[in-house]
């Protein structure tokens, strides 16, 4: 088991080095950083002096090592557009994004899993078919269209919910939360539904197909023959065995929730990292883009690692047979 975890950690580090390298290339070679800092009238000598001071004339490897060193300490330079340290900008906006992602993840799990189990057990019921058809629509609705539709119905027509921002936020230390005010709760309803819908349909369909698969197996038939109550069979025997793929998908989905929060945050002008990032892309603000890339990659890699390790907790077979584990990363 230790070997397996070490191997996974090594892989995670390798991915991070690649991402850091891409981000470093972007930082240094996409546009001239000196051009972005000095004015048009700066002389050649001024520029050279600045290059020396910034270390841009050092050997490539030294520059990369310095970049990684700074990145580990969370320093990504100064935003071209806002003229403030990127680290401050991101840490200011991280709570908003994480609260949105957390609320959406909870929503998609709490609704997706029960519906998936239900449609898996009552396969031929009309209600199951309706749920499945609706879920197909959920897969085909682009995130931003869901957001626009919700805004049109609940903000423009009914006027119940705010269409932008996160309401009144309360500062607790460095974290700012919107869960302590009524306006904050109202503001998070539509963005979190928008973000959750796609993941919810994915989880629903996955749980359903896994349930159908497990229901066909011999031990479920045997459990029925023994006359065990349905409840015990459905949840104690069947559902428990769908957990490995379900946990994988949920874990990986938290990553894609962070990526898709870019879209949701833009639609609802949610003051999070995604909104910051999309503005950075529009203004060619390379330090912010590079920092966001490294940060999001770090979150993804961490999630992947946690999911891999969770396998051991959920599936006892893996503790015995390691070859299965390496094949289950698909």
């Amino acid at each position: 088991m230790t070997a397996y975890i070490l191997q996974r950690i090594f892989q995670a580090l390798a991915v991070m080095v690649v991402v850091a390298f891409v981000s470093f290339l972007m930082f240094n070679f996409v546009g001239d950083p000196v051009d972005n800092m000095v004015g048009q009238e700066a002389s050649y000598e001024d520029r050279e002096e600045m290059r020396d001071r910034l270390g841009l004339n050092d050997p490539f490897v030294v520059q990369f090592a310095r970049f990684v060193g700074n990145a580990v300490r969370g320093e990504f330079g100064i935003s071209y557009r806002l003229q403030r340290p990127v680290a401050t900008l991101i840490s200011e906006r991280m709570p908003a994004t994480l609260e949105l992602v957390g609320a959406s993840a909870l929503l998609s799990i709490l609704i997706g899993i029960p519906l998936g189990v239900y449609t898996g057990i009552r396969r031929y019921a009309i209600s199951s078919r309706v749920i499945l058809t609706l879920s197909l629509a959920g897969v085909s609705l682009p995130t931003f269209v869901i957001g626009i539709l919700l805004i049109y119905v609940f903000s423009v027509n009914l006027g119940w919910l705010p269409s932008f921002g996160r309401g009144q936020a309360t500062q607790i230390g460095w974290w700012s939360t919107s869960f302590l005010t009524v306006s904050g709760w109202k503001a998070i309803i539509m963005p979190s539904i928008t973000l959750a819908l796609f993941q919810m349909t994915l989880i629903l369909r996955l749980v359903r197909s896994e349930m159908l698969e497990v229901m066909r197996t011999d031990y479920i038939k045997f459990a029925r023959a023994r006359g065990l109550p349905d409840r015990l069979i459905n949840f104690g025997h069947a559902f428990k065995n769908t957990l490995v793929p379900v946990i994988t998908i949920i874990g990986l989905n938290v990553g894609s929730l962070i990526a898709f929060s870019i879209i949701t945050e833009t639609v609802f002008q949610w003051p999070g990292m995604g909104f910051l990032f999309i503005q950075a892309v529009g203004f060619a603000d390379v330090p912010v883009m590079a920092a966001y890339l490294v940060m999001v990659a770090a979150i993804f890699v961490a999630i992947n690692l946690i999911v891999d390790i969770l396998y051991f907790v959920v599936d006892p077979r893996l503790r015995v047979d390691r070859t299965v584990a390496s094949g289950s990363g698909e």
Partner: protein
């Protein structure tokens, strides 16, 4: 074919063979699939013949009249039958902008999918058939990219490319940048499938036989290995088309895709979104509906194709 023990192909016409096939049978017996095929075909035809199909030319300033701006759809109170789905802020007919917009969306979607297929299948074939360090590099790259959602990869490539392109060329090159970004964001899926199939075929006797008689490796890959992956790749590409259309629309909606001078469906939704609060809902809702219907139809076709081509389900 079982009544034909010698395996000699009967001289039947291509049309007859298509009508006789399993795939056509499963197609014609699924009403939803037929419907989505019709919807997709309507979109394709309307997009291909946009100048003839669209009631107005929304990009010819000579035909635009600002007095027509913000006309609601024909069935609303102030609507006019001249503009079936209403007009936008510049007096452009919404139905016509949707038809021209689907054209841009479909062109970008198709080109991006073609680009990913060529890149993914090419690299997958080389990796699976040749193996060795090439395989390691290609598949590791695919693994790394798969840990990051495609939309983020596309956004990054798009963002970097926009910085590299000079400002005055940005709008002109936006479509190509978009095709490149979306195309690169989706190649790992094709590479994985192709490599898997190539690994299986590589060790089969007919491939060894071809190798022994001295057929060039590239010819073996294209003639013998490639045909085995076309089925799964076609399924992936159909669903990939729906994904590419969504990705394009999303990037355009975020303002980093197709410029307003030659709008796609996503750009139209972005423009219309500004008027949602002042009551002109049709400017953004109709392009949204068109986008959803197009994506849903392509997705349903892809779902059906996956089941129809899956030998396990036959």
């Amino acid at each position: 074919m079982s009544d034909n023990p010698l395996g000699v192909s009967r001289p039947t016409s291509l049309l007859h063979r298509i009508l006789d096939s399993d795939i056509f049978y499963s197609f014609s017996h699924s009403p939803i699939t037929v419907l989505s095929a019709i919807v997709t075909a309507i979109f394709f035809l309307a997009a291909a013949f946009a100048p003839w199909v669209a009631p107005h030319n929304p990009f010819d300033p000579a035909t635009l009249d600002l007095l027509d701006a913000f006309t609601p759809p024909a069935w609303e109170e102030d609507g006019s039958t001249k503009f079936l789905l209403g007009t936008d802020d510049q007096g452009r007919d919404i139905l016509s902008t949707i038809i021209y917009g689907s054209r841009v969306s479909l062109i970008v979607g198709f080109s991006a999918v073609l680009f990913s297929v060529i890149l993914g299948v090419g690299l997958g074939l080389l990796a699976g058939y040749l193996g060795g360090w090439l395989e390691t590099i290609v598949m590791r790259m695919a693994d790394v990219q798969l840990t990051i959602p495609a939309i983020l990869v596309a956004l990054m490539i798009d963002g970097v490319a926009r910085i590299l392109v000079p400002v005055h060329l940005r709008d002109e090159l936006a479509i190509y940048v978009l095709i490149l970004a979306i195309g690169i964001s989706d190649w790992p899926r094709y590479a994985r499938v192709t490599r898997g199939a190539a690994l299986v075929e590589r060790n089969k006797e007919y491939v060894s036989a071809a190798r022994v008689i001295g057929v060039h490796p590239i010819k073996i890959m294209l003639r013998h290995v490639l045909p085995n992956v076309l089925g799964p790749v076609l399924v992936l590409a159909t669903i990939g088309l729906a994904l590419a259309i969504i990705t394009e629309a999303t990037l355009s909606f975020l303002g980093v895709g197709v410029p307003p001078t030659q709008p796609s469906l996503g750009t139209l939704i972005r423009i219309g979104n500004n008027f949602l609060f002042s009551g002109e809902w049709w400017i953004t809702l109709f392009p949204s509906i068109a986008l959803v219907i197009l994506v849903l139809a392509v997705n349903l076709l892809g779902d059906w194709l996956r089941d129809a081509l899956n030998p396990k389900l036959r």
